[in-house]
Symmetry: C2
Subunit: 403 residues, 2 copies
């Protein structure tokens, strides 16, 4: 596939590829795909005005994309009240390449296929605790689901352009190796070796994929935000100018181990008073006087809704701790908003008051707005599948060669 195309400076050292006409063509093909994908069916003329090229140029680009099977001609538009010849509507193809997303959860596995239009065309889920199981059988099971989903997608006229796997843990920058997944008890596991597929494989952190889903699918989500999600640990993802901040080793976003009370209880990470000691699932359950077990989040939400004072108190305190940690993060990053996702989304009603109070109290100007994701637990899976789709939109020429 393509090299990393980072865009810090317009022409700075970031650009690795020589700037030649072929590169220009490739980028313009991508611009057309993005325009059509984002703005719904569009005529050639509409695309041209949007991306700043002439109609003639767009015509040839569109021809090429149609020949590659990435765009489809829907036929003449029914114009409202506009004079002039109506355009011919173009849409992203519903056949052709599909992004396969997979998720390894603590107690489930899920796989789905998303077409270029962003629609989920096939899916498979399997419940069952994975905590403590060695990686091999889990991945074997996941591979089975992938095969099923790919088969179903193929019957629908799609072919897999790539597979992205979301895992609840730290993933190295090579996007293949799970360095540490405490909730699965996996360490330095090379999923690339365990999951051989004949299309590109990417492994990523669950919170990161959740944030990307929020970015791409959320309505009104800005291009700079902090996405906080919790399953068992607490993860965050930093999105800056529409791109994920990954960190040198790929470990950025470890909000769970930000110190909240420096002399607080010891944490397995070595520190003291980390956020996870106050707002992690285990800590909240303990504070609420509940036992760990299945679907603890649902239990918490249920009890809180019933008015259980212990549970509400525990969530209130967790919100306070989150607010303290987020104050630090917001001061450092100045994001446009904070989005609560994953399990936090379901518990938001009881977390938000104390969280926002803390954030507000500790901020000089207007506090950073806190929003709740409407994707909830679907985020990581959809984000993974869409990341493959975005890769296709970002370089359609590369995919056309493989089609």
């Amino acid at each position: 596939m393509t090299a990393p195309l980072h865009e810090a400076h317009p022409a700075g050292p970031g650009r690795a590829l020589p700037d030649t006409q072929q590169g220009m063509r490739r980028r313009n093909l991508a611009r057309v795909m993005h325009a059509v994908s984002a703005q719904g069916p569009l005529s050639r003329a509409a695309v041209a005005s949007r991306i700043g090229l002439t109609r003639a140029a767009v015509s040839t680009l569109v021809d090429e994309l149609i020949r590659s099977g990435l765009l489809e001609e829907l036929g003449p538009e029914r114009p409202g009240r506009r004079v002039g010849r109506p355009g011919s509507a173009l849409a992203v193809s519903g056949h052709g390449p599909a992004g396969i997303g997979a998720e390894v959860g603590v107690d489930h596995l899920a796989v789905c296929a998303v077409d270029l239009r962003g629609e989920v065309r096939a899916r498979a889920v399997r419940y069952g605790a994975n905590r403590g199981r060695p990686p091999e059988p889990v991945i074997e099971e996941l591979a089975g689901l992938v095969r099923r989903v790919v088969a179903e997608a193929e019957r629908a006229g799609l072919w897999p352009a790539g597979l992205a796997v979301a895992v609840p843990g730290l993933v190295a920058r090579d996007a293949r190796t799970v360095v540490r997944a405490p909730n699965l008890d996996w360490h330095d596991t090379d999923l690339g070796a365990l999951l051989p597929v004949e299309y590109p494989l990417t492994v990523g952190n669950e919170a990161n994929f959740g944030a990307l889903a929020e970015l791409w699918l959320g309505d009104g989500t800005p291009r700079d935000f902090l996405h906080v999600s919790a399953e068992i640990g607490i993860g965050a993802a930093v999105v800056v100018d529409g791109a994920l901040l990954r960190g040198t080793r790929g470990f950025a976003g470890e909000l769970g181990h930000v110190p909240v009370r420096p002399d607080g209880p010891k944490c397995p990470c070595g520190g003291r008073g980390c956020l996870e000691q106050y707002a992690g699932e285990e800590a909240v359950l303990r504070a609420a006087g509940l036992e760990p077990g299945e679907d603890r989040v649902g239990l918490l939400a249920g009890r809180a809704a019933e008015g259980d004072e212990d549970v509400r108190g525990a969530l209130h305190d967790a919100g306070t701790a989150l607010g303290i940690a987020l104050t630090g993060a917001v001061n450092l990053l100045d994001p446009e908003s904070v989005v609560l996702g994953g399990a936090l989304a379901g518990l938001a009603p009881w977390l938000l008051p104390s969280l926002e109070a803390e954030l507000d109290r500790r901020t000089a100007g207007p506090a950073c707005p806190v929003a709740v994701s409407r994707l909830g637990s679907e985020g990581p899976l959809l984000g993974a599948a869409h990341s493959v789709v975005r890769a296709v939109l970002d370089d359609p020429a590369a995919v056309a060669e493989r089609a």
Copy 2:
């Protein structure tokens, strides 16, 4: 191996300009400038192999840059032991455009001119407390220094390509307005209106410019780091993949108000136990039993060197607080290193032990390395001047039109 997907989009909404041949030309001109600037004198053939274009293409690019006065032909190289015709060395011009940097400090003003080669060709400094003075007379004084430096630069055959001003406070994203500079007591001050110049003006935060100086001038500084600097307040700058993270409002990097002890002493920002309450200059002086006054940093360093236990204790505690705040930041950003700059650089010997201990103690794996800037207090001024130079290298065609 392929890069992780989605660091940024090659043709996403980020790219504003249509991708046309002129744009390609501009980017290639920039590539040539960057190559020559970074890798010392280079022949056309060397440039070609470095940026991936052919010798013929580079020849025409170089011709254009020489005609614009941005490159100079030094004449034939004396080849060591290589066969073949020797190349003709090209270097960035020592005449032509210059970057003017300016700094508004709490008790000094400074201006310098840097040529495209990165050399300081003129400078002017003026000591005197600016704290509490209204912006108008201060800027008037600064304008006088700028005129002197520009005049001196012009005598050396340079012309000002832009002016960048570093201020100790928050600057809005428009890069003109100082929103809040507590140590100067300035609020919502539009420097663009106060400092009329006939070349582009940029205003930026001092810590940010210091970080850019570290990035561009520091030896071995990575492209992903956290630069912490302190004059009176504590500022930080986040550099991600060689670019500054600015934040939505331009306020990113406010490390001084990260909560360190959530129930600690009240802070003017509204919060409690902010880092500045422990490691800010005022707090450290109080803890050391010293009065505020002139050159307090030098005083602290002197006393600490003499072995003053009170001062050493105060710095030890400040280091601990910094370590706690930085643990949070490092967890969130996973930078390649942390760099201490500004006043912190001079106090590093007494801050570092407790700071690193705290960072190490609270980190699971190997702790993030902490380095000390060798630019010290020169950083912001140099960073400002160089930011103008970088702008020229990034788009030489724009400058050529004005030459």
